[in-house]
Each structure stands twice: as structure tokens, then as C-alpha cells.
């Protein structure tokens, strides 16, 4: 408090002792706010300032946080942009489906040639490259009984792969695997549309029985 008019620059004197410093400040903190005659308002002005900062901070966060998404790097993003899924190549999908163990590949073999005398081939098969209606129905519901494929006779059974069957493949998957076999091993038929599979499946309703060659030949 009493600063000398000509302080020695080499040693600044202390105006209070450590004990006084501690005691006078501790008294301030220990003081009860409602002590008689010493009532001190809550620092309302501080409260207002701090609320203003929180308001600013909250607004700023809401506007520029990118919804706290780990994949939003542009602070101006409003977070509504939907990432477009890349379209899948049905041939690539079909190739994977074809190779699932216990599925197509088990009987028809990796080269699509089947097993002579037991399982018919897919390569150069008029059933594969021919009528879409018949092919879709075979894949959806299965096939049993005698059938003539590429000039040879076969008599065995194939399970259905469509919805409700043990495989329960979606229309997308059926379309993909059929598109695949129609352009593989030298086959040169066009792709099977998903809509077409859906249409056939809807038309057949809840059918679960396998088709026979004779039934199929009545169809276009």
C-alpha cells in the first residue's frame, strides 16, 4: 500500500506478509453470502456474460459442427447429403453367388458343364440362353423330373433359390446369378432384369413346388 516514492530497483519491498495475504483472502472466500449486512449479489453480470458466450458457442457449434459426424470434413455441410451407393455389377455379384458352396456350383460345376448323365450343363444350354420366363421359374422354385438339355437326357432334382426356399435369395440375387450364367462360358444371352424376376415371382404367388420340364414347355 505504501509504495516508497523512490523505490530501490534492486529489491522491491513487499507491502504485506504472507500470513496477512492468506488470511485476508481466505476471509473473503469463507464469507457467507447472506451474512448480515454483507450480502453480495450473485454476480449477475458475469452470469449474463457467460450465458451470452454459451449461446454464441452453442449456435456456432450447431451451425459448423457437421453434426459431429466423423465423416463430415466441410464445416458448411448441412449433414443432409446422402452418399449415393455405387451401382453393383450384376455379373460380379452373380459370379460370387454362383460359387457359394452348396449352391449352383455343386452340381453345375465351376465350368458350367454339369456332370454328364447326372446334372445338366449350363454352358450352351438352350434352357439358359432361351426363354427368360422358364429360366426365372427354375431358379425361383426348382426343377425335377426328366429333361432334355443340349441333346442329352437328364433326370434329377434342383432346389428352388427364391424367397421362401431354403436359400431365400432376393430378386436382386436371382437376377444377378441368372445374368451371370447367361453371359459366361460362351453363352451370349441378354441380362435378366430384377423387375422381370419380381413380376414372375408375384405372378406365381406362394408356389413352392418344383417345376417339371413338361410344365415349363407350356410357357412362352
Amino acid at each position: 500500500m505504501s509504495t516508497p516514492s523512490q523505490p530501490d530497483p534492486r529489491a522491491d519491498t513487499a507491502a504485506v506478509s504472507d500470513e496477512t495475504l492468506m488470511a485476508s483472502h481466505a476471509k473473503l472466500l469463507g464469507q457467507q453470502p447472506d451474512e448480515k449486512g454483507r450480502y453480495r449479489l450473485m454476480p449477475l453480470n458475469l452470469l449474463f456474460i457467460f450465458s451470452g458466450m454459451i449461446f454464441f458457442g452453442g449456435t456456432y457449434l450447431g451451425r459448423f459442427s457437421g453434426y459431429f459426424s466423423p465423416s463430415v470434413f466441410n464445416e458448411y455441410s448441412t449433414g443432409t447429403a446422402v452418399v449415393a451407393a455405387a451401382p453393383l455389377d450384376p455379373v460380379a455379384v452373380g459370379k460370387k453367388l454362383y460359387a457359394i458352396p452348396g449352391g449352383c456350383i455343386t452340381c453345375h460345376q465351376p465350368n458350367g458343364a454339369g456332370l454328364p448323365g447326372a446334372f445338366p450343363p449350363l454352358a450352351n444350354s438352350e434352357w439358359v440362353t432361351g426363354s427368360e420366363e422358364r429360366l426365372i421359374r427354375i431358379a425361383l422354385h426348382g426343377l425335377q423330373g426328366p429333361i432334355k438339355v443340349a441333346g442329352a437326357d437328364y433326370n434329377s432334382a434342383m432346389p428352388g433359390f427364391g424367397q421362401g426356399s431354403g436359400f431365400n435369395w432376393s430378386d436382386d440375387k436371382i437376377a444377378a446369378v441368372l445374368t451371370y450364367i447367361r453371359q459366361e462360358w460362351g453363352n451370349k444371352a441378354g441380362p435378366i432384369a430384377v423387375d422381370k424376376v419380381t413380376a414372375v415371382r408375384t405372378k406365381e404367388g406362394a408356389r413352392s413346388a418344383a417345376w417339371t420340364a413338361a410344365d415349363l414347355e407350356k410357357l412362352p
Binding site: 500500500m1 488470511a23 473473503l28 456474460i49 456456432y60
Partner: protein, 474 residues
């Protein structure tokens, strides 16, 4: 607000000071030596900015390494030693008991200085890490943690064994700094050096650490000094002292959130820089409390008050500058330019170092029991360091501004841009030379004051009485 009764006649040199003399003078002295070392390195790096061929053939001192050496010597050599020395002294004095574990302080200080020296050698031979403020190679880092823990023991003992139950603001800040820094250093080492996280998480962790060094270590150390010295020399109670704890907790809780502002425009999710901007704006509350509390420094005469006042103003200006520079629109101009170097100079030199200078000018006469050896060296240091700090901040800021404009304008070629920067960079080199000479004066004065055998010839003009137990009687 009532003023406390002044006890100007109380003996100012107590048993606390005489007993801690050697260890604390060792800390402060080694800090000053490192300050001069970093001053030399700062001069080198500043020359390299306008004369790139300077020392370019010396692999140990190319600009990247010299810059890392300067920063490490400054932060881990000067600021760490001086800050800890002052914090331990304040904790002991406010605790009212002599420091315990002083052997640990001496051992820790020796290990710390050895670690920093080893770290500098490691950086020079090319083992530095790529993280700002954590550039010392991996192999010295455990040594640093160990040494810091040794020194911290004494502070923790002084705090836990204090005479009064009540704590004063300086004690909060000093204890927080002593406890938080080892945690920060260990955590950063673990995720950056020993089990490095991958990809963009690395810069996020690195900026968190760098911000923590400021907000959880250096700023608390400096505030401990200011909160102690301001009432001590002014004799006034801190205005609105009951708000001081709000300032303390905002610094501790919010301070380290704002590191992400250095990643603006980088490959990190948008919310990280945004959160940093918000944290930086909330920090204005902390600076407001500091302004209200410590304005009592105004109108006090003397060397200590002059330094503390400058550091106090620089601390507040630093807070506002950081807030403004954190916004993306501003960062687009200032990021990756020397403007950031100017802000760093403002924070680490203008604020923290000046406050430590003030603390040293106040503490050393009490530790030695004698006034400083030379008044002219004090005044020389005071005016030179003032001029050096102000000019270097201004020069770096102007150079950074020119750099930012040049980088954003595709029509300005690189040589043109550097042509515009060369004058302020030359001025900065001059300022660094002034700072170096100023700190040499301080070191000389310190050595003359601290070594008793240099004082025997003169008629010891001490202002202080010999150590008595008077201060303990209350």
C-alpha cells in the same frame, strides 16, 4: 473493500527462504542459462529466415532443427526451470513451512537439465520427433518424466503439509501445474511416441498436447506467480477475489479443448476445429476474470511490478488474439505464416517469460537475503527486453501478414513474397539480438547476486533483515 493492515516491518527473509536458497537458485539459474542458449538459437533461426544460406551446410543447425532446438531450450529449459522454481517458492511461502524433499529438487533439477541437454543433442543429430513442443527424441522422455516427478514431490509436500487449511489462488494454480504436466506428458508420449496412434488422430493428439502445455502448465505457473506477487507488492486485496475460482476452472476445463484450431482446413472432421473455436471463445471468460482480479497491479512502482504489468497485459492481449485468429476466415490468412510465430512470441515471451522475470526479480533478493548486485544491469535488462519483445512481436506479425497475403494471391511469386517480408524479418533479427543481450545482462546480474563470494567486497546494502521466526508468529 477494506485494505488489510500492512506489515511492512515484518522480516521478509524467513527461514523458508534461507533453507531453500541453494535448490531454488539452482532451478532459477539453470533456467536463465537455457534462456541465453535459446536466445542464441533464436538469433540463428531468425537470420536463416532472411538469409537461407546461413548455416545451411551444417546439418545440425539447419532451420528445421535449429527451430526445434530453440523451442525446446526455451520451453523445457527456461520456462520449466524458472516456473518450477517460482512455484515451489510460492508454495513453500504460502504453506508457511520450509520446503521438504529439497534433495529431490536438486536431483530432479540435475536430471531434468541433463535430459534437456541430451534432448537437444538428440534433436541436433536428427532424432527429433515431428510433434511441436514434444520434439525431444523418445529416449530422453522417460528421464524427463522422472526428473519432473522428483522436483514436483517437494511442491506436493509443501502443499499437503501447509499450515493453514485455506488455500490461496496461487496455490491452486501452482498445484494444478505440478500435477497436470506429468499426466499430460505421459499421455502424449504414450499415444504419440511409444504406441503411436495412426493417421489423422496423430495431429489431433499432438495439438491437444501442445495446447495443454500452454493451458495446463505454463499459464497456471505464470498465474500462480501473478496472483502471489500482485497483492504482495501492491498491498491491496485482489478485487472481486471470490470470482477467481471461476477463472481457474474455466482455464482447466476449457483451456485444453482449443488445440484443434491449428488443424483448420486439415483432414480432420469439421467438428474438431469448430469445437476449438468455441472453446477459444469461452476462454474469453477466463481472461475477463484475470483482468478483473489482477488490475490491482496498476499504479504500483518498482522493477517487479513493471515486468508483471507487462506480462499481465500481454496475457490478456494473447487471449484476445488467439480468439480472433481461431476463426476460419482469419485462419485462412494467418495459418502457416509467421503470424502464428508472432502470437507464440506474445504468449511465451510477452506473457509467461515477462511474468517469470518479475517473479525472479522479486524472489532472488529474498532467497539470497541481499538486494540485486547491480541496478544498472536491472534497468538495462528491463528496457532492452521490453524493446526486444515488442519489436519482435510487431515484426513477426507484419511479416506474417505479408506472407499470408502473398500466399493467397496466385499472382505473387514466392521470391516477391519473401522480398516483401525481408525488412520485417531483418528487424526481427535485430530484436532477437537485443533480447539475447538483455538476457545476458540478467544472467550476469543473477550470477553476481547469487554467488556470495562476489558480494564480500561491497558494503552489503541489504534491505532485509536476517532470517527470523517473526513471520511465523501470527
Amino acid at each position: 473493500m477494506p485494505n488489510p493492515p500492512t506489515h511492512a516491518t515484518t522480516a521478509e527473509v524467513t527461514a523458508i527462504d534461507t533453507q531453500a536458497r541453494g535448490p531454488l537458485l539452482l532451478l532459477l539459474g539453470s533456467g536463465l542459462v537455457w534462456l541465453v542458449v535459446s536466445g542464441v538459437l533464436a538469433l540463428l533461426t531468425s537470420i536463416q529466415l532472411h538469409a537461407p544460406q546461413f548455416l545451411a551446410d551444417c546439418p545440425q543447425l539447419t532451420h528445421g532443427r535449429a527451430q526445434a532446438l530453440r523451442e525446446t531450450a526455451f520451453v523445457y529449459g527456461w520456462l520449466a526451470n524458472a516456473g518450477l522454481g517460482l512455484a515451489l517458492w510460492i508454495l513453500a511461502r504460502l504453506g508457511g513451512r520450509p520446503l521438504r524433499g529439497l534433495n529431490w529438487v536438486v536431483a530432479g533439477s540435475l536430471f531434468w537439465n541433463a535430459g534437456v541437454a541430451l534432448g537437444l543433442v538428440g534433436i541436433a543429430i536428427g532424432d527429433m520427433t515431428s510433434f511441436g513442443l514434444l520434439q525431444m527424441p523418445r529416449y530422453v522422455q522417460p528421464l524427463l518424466v522422472f526428473a519432473y516427478a522428483c522436483m514436483g514431490v517437494s511442491g506436493v509436500l509443501a502443499w499437503s503439509g501447509r499450515r493453514e487449511d485455506a488455500m490461496y489462488a496461487s496455490q491452486w494454480y501452482a498445484v494444478a501445474a505440478i500435477f497436470l504436466f506429468p499426466w499430460l506428458l505421459i499421455a502424449a508420449q504414450a499415444v504419440l511416441l511409444w504406441m503411436p496412434v495412426r493417421g489423422v488422430v496423430q495431429p489431433i493428439a499432438a495439438t491437444w498436447f501442445a495446447q495443454g502445455v500452454w493451458a495446463l502448465w505454463l499459464a497456471p505457473l505464470a498465474l500462480a506467480v501473478v496472483y502471489y506477487i500482485v497483492p504482495k507488492i501492491s498491498g491491496r486485496i485482489i478485487p472481486v477475489y471470490e470470482w477467481a475460482s471461476l477463472g481457474f476452472w474455466t482455464l482447466l476445463f476449457i483451456g485444453s479443448w482449443s488445440g484443434g484450431r491449428h488443424l483448420v482446413g486439415g483432414p480432420v472432421p469439421a467438428w474438431i476445429p469448430t469445437m476449438a473455436v468455441v472453446a477459444q471463445s469461452m476462454m474469453l471468460f477466463h481472461y475477463l476474470i484475470i483482468l478483473l482480479n489482477l488490475r490491482a497491479i496498476w499504479g504500483v512502482g518498482g522493477t517487479t511490478a513493471a515486468f508483471i504489468r507487462f506480462g499481465f497485459v500481454a496475457y490478456l492481449v494473447f487471449g484476445v488474439a488467439e480468439f480472433i485468429a481461431s476463426f476460419r476466415g482469419v485462419a485462412a490468412h494467418t495459418h502457416f505464416t509467421l503470424f502464428n510465430a508472432a502470437i507464440e512470441q506474445l504468449g511465451l515471451y510477452g506473457a509467461i517469460s515477462m511474468i517469470f522475470f518479475g517473479g525472479i526479480y522479486f524472489a532472488v533478493p529474498r532467497l539470497t537475503g541481499l538486494a540485486w548486485a547491480s541496478a544498472s544491469l536491472i534497468s538495462g535488462h528491463r528496457w532492452l527486453v521490453l524493446a526486444g519483445v515488442v519489436i519482435s512481436i510487431a515484426a513477426l506479425g507484419i511479416a506474417g501478414g505479408a506472407q499470408g497475403e502473398g500466399l493467397l494471391d496466385p499472382k505473387v511469386s514466392f521470391p516477391d513474397m519473401f522480398g516483401r517480408m525481408s525488412t520485417p524479418l531483418l528487424i526481427n533479427t535485430a530484436a532477437q539480438a537485443v533480447l539475447l543481450s538483455a538476457n545476458l545482462l540478467l544472467l550476469v546480474n543473477f550470477l553476481r547476486s547469487a554467488c556470495p563470494w562476489t558480494r564480500t567486497a561491497e558494503p552489503t546494502p541489504t534491505l532485509f533483515r536476517a532470517a527470523t521466526e517473526e513471520a511465523h508468529a501470527s
